[in-house]
Amino acid sequence: MPIVFVHGVNNRLGPSYDAGVKLKADALKSCFAGATINGKSFANVGEIGFPYWGDLAASFAWNMASLPRGEMQALSGNADPAMLPYLAMIHDAVPGSVTGEPILALAKRDFSNAVELIASLALDQSTDDLIEEIAEFAASAQAYAKANPRPAWLANVTTDDALIGQLGLAIKAPTPVETLGLGKVIDALGGIATRLKSAATGLMGTTLDRAGDFASTKILAANREALNATLGRFFGDVFIYFNSRGDAAQPGPIGQRVLAGIDKAVQAAPPGEPLVIVGHSLGGVITFDLLSHFRPLEVDLFVSVGSQVAHFEEMKLFKNSDKAKPPGKAVTPKNILHWINIYDEVDIFSYAAKPVFDRVDVDARYDTKTYVIKAHGAYFEQTRFYERLRARIDAL
């Protein structure tokens, strides 16, 4: 089954990356099972290609020492920076709730959204020994929330820890051997929930917040360090790719890596199956650049998600970009037979494609229900995203 996923910026090997790949692989297999594209069907759902190029991307000689950290740290007090985007998400959804039992407050308002947040936290904080379990938890928990948008037990729960425990029990698959203990995933999630609460307490500990005012702007300010770092890595990866991309005769290292991944998937697939390439963020840009100039391979479906393809075309940055603005829209390469582009308005790195390109089948808005920083990485953590994507594919 030639489905290739080209990752975007900020991807580096580690437990969180591995858990994300496992979740994406399982979800993409389900998403494309039985799908027909261009009259071609998938006979079998095989392995998904995940060409990894993060090791070729930007590195920072002084470990991003140039970021103006001092001010930001003062604003965020002792709060754990990794938890701040999640607190911001909760604050946006349920203002004023971050100081009590934040996840529970969100769950009482929107259980599915809370489960997505828990899944995202779990994936973000995955450890080497829990990669498979975390990925399975993230998928199972979201499937449960979809089937049970307001479970009866939620009314009896009074703490974040109890919420996670009850959720863990609700989705627990029967096993022939029982353990006289909590289980590693639920244990780890309990710890993460505690960190989230500690981060909220850390925010409260700052001079600005002692008044109890958790205005969005304040949380945004506290998040600026994380935002700066994300932006820094984004631009770093973009510069690295464009500076080293080579040309059709001699593609650069990132292009070579991605093309090799595509070739491998194509060769491994049975003949007659559609070729699908899913590009996230800069992965969409790289894919578009490769398909439009480096390797005009016929692709049955190109899915760009949270990507900047149109934005970069406006700047005429692709090898194949027509430097003179054409009278109408830019021409979508002929070898891209279908194109679905997905963006979230909250995701500041995502762009619409239809206003710039002449042939885009679907330009769809998807609400990750997350916060500015989290939105960009949230699409593929959410099982409902894959369901929406399948619906779009079936409607092609």
Partner: protein
């Protein structure tokens, strides 16, 4: 009332050495588990257990029917279970167990303690199967643990480390504790301020007159205990196997002492881990050897494993001990484990495509692992 044996407290012998047992099996938790009405504010993800009550029941039956010690016969058995149940004694009479709540467990403990405290030659036997956590102490969770309405949510929890320490003031010279529970340290418990439980015994002086106080744990520190759904826990199965001869030593008559039991439990659990492919562990210290049980005969746990899947599938196993022959034909579950008599034996492994292997040896408790090739 949680006295299982004898039928009446008036019949408990108090003026001579006796083994007095307190057996606790917790399977259902009022505040832990899916969809409970008032879930605990923490550790709520702990699930109900199906293995712990069967384990407690099996220990009770063993004490009543198989325990043998002329110098210190069975004196009494207190039982609390969750859910509580009607149990049938060896003589066919029925008795209701106590409930494994803190209130009933405390009452059973007090009665047990009072009996153990009558005679220095007595043996105090304590067995707990249920959820446990290990942070600053080993905590044992009773069926009403984690009630969110209580001012102290740790109230219905036993501080076992404190209990064992407090029991040094009890007269019983030999004190055996079997903790069939997890010993991991959940983050949710670690991050709570001042995790604690009730030690049930305390006020001891500096003087320690107890000859032997030993705790056998179903898991090593930081690890989980396990059981096959609906059956007794693996630790319980190993314990019964050891008490019934795998933990026995010569000279005749066969006898189980506290040190040999430690070694045997470790060995049997190791074989069980190999056969089940589960991370089974135990922690059983080797302390002063005090003989406390005389099984009718010794026993040896024989296990056979092949390092090649094909050989494993083809293997036919035969153990010959005089006229006794035990066969396991090809296709049966592998790796193979069974309990046989001690003494000379011939073990034959045959295969359809691999060379056979024969061993003639003297089998002695506790275990005899055979590896192929």
């Amino acid at each position: 009332m949680s006295l299982y044996w004898p039928a009446s407290a008036a019949n408990v012998v108090l003026n001579a050495p006796r083994l007095h047992a307190l057996v606790i099996g917790v399977g259902e938790y009022e505040h832990l588990g899916p969809g409970v009405l008032k879930p605990s504010n923490f550790l709520s993800g702990l699930q109900p257990l199906t293995t712990t009550v069967p384990a407690a029941r099996r220990i009770v039956q063993w004490l009543e029917r198989e325990y043998q010690n002329p110098a210190c016969p069975l004196g009494s058995i207190e039982v609390v279970l969750s859910p509580k149940e009607t149990m049938t004694r060896a003589d066919g009479s029925n008795v209701n167990s106590g409930a494994a709540t803190m209130a009933e467990t405390k009452q059973a403990f007090d009665d047990w303690y009072a009996r153990c405290n009558q005679d220095e030659g007595s043996i105090a036997f304590f067995y707990f199967a249920g959820h446990g956590i290990s942070t600053i102490s080993q905590f044992l969770l009773l069926s009403d643990f984690g009630n969110p309405d209580l001012p102290d949510e740790w109230e219905n929890c036993i501080d076992f480390s404190g209990m064992k320490s407090g029991m040094i003031k009890c007269k019983a010279d030999t004190q055996l504790y079997f903790i069939d529970a997890c010993r991991d340290a959940p983050i949710a418990a670690l991050t709570k301020k001042n995790p604690h439980g009730r030690p049930l015994a305390g006020g001891s002086t500096f003087l320690d007159t107890v000859d032997l106080s030993i705790a056998y744990y179903a898991a090593s520190e930081g690890r989980a205990a396990h059981g096959k759904d609906g059956e007794e826990t693996y630790f319980c199965k190993a314990l019964i196997t050891c008490l019934n001869g795998a933990g026995a030593r010569k000279p005749l008559p066969w006898r189980v002492n506290t040190a040999a039991l430690s070694y045997a439990l470790g060995s049997v659990i190791e074989e069980m881990a190999s056969v089940t492919n589960l991370p089974l562990t135990c922690e059983c210290p080797v302390l002063k050897p005090v003989t406390f049980h005389y099984p009718p005969k010794g026993a040896v746990v024989v296990s056979v494993s092949c390092d090649d899947d094909q050989a494993s599938a083809e293997s036919a196993i035969r153990i010959t001990q005089g006229a006794k022959v035990r066969n396991s034909v090809a296709g049966e579950s592998r790796p193979w484990m069974d309990t046989v008599d001690p003494g000379p034996a011939q073990i034959d492994l045959t295969f359809s495509t691999f060379p056979p292997k024969s061993i003639q040896d003297e089998l002695t408790p506790p275990t005899y692992p055979v590896e192929y090739p």
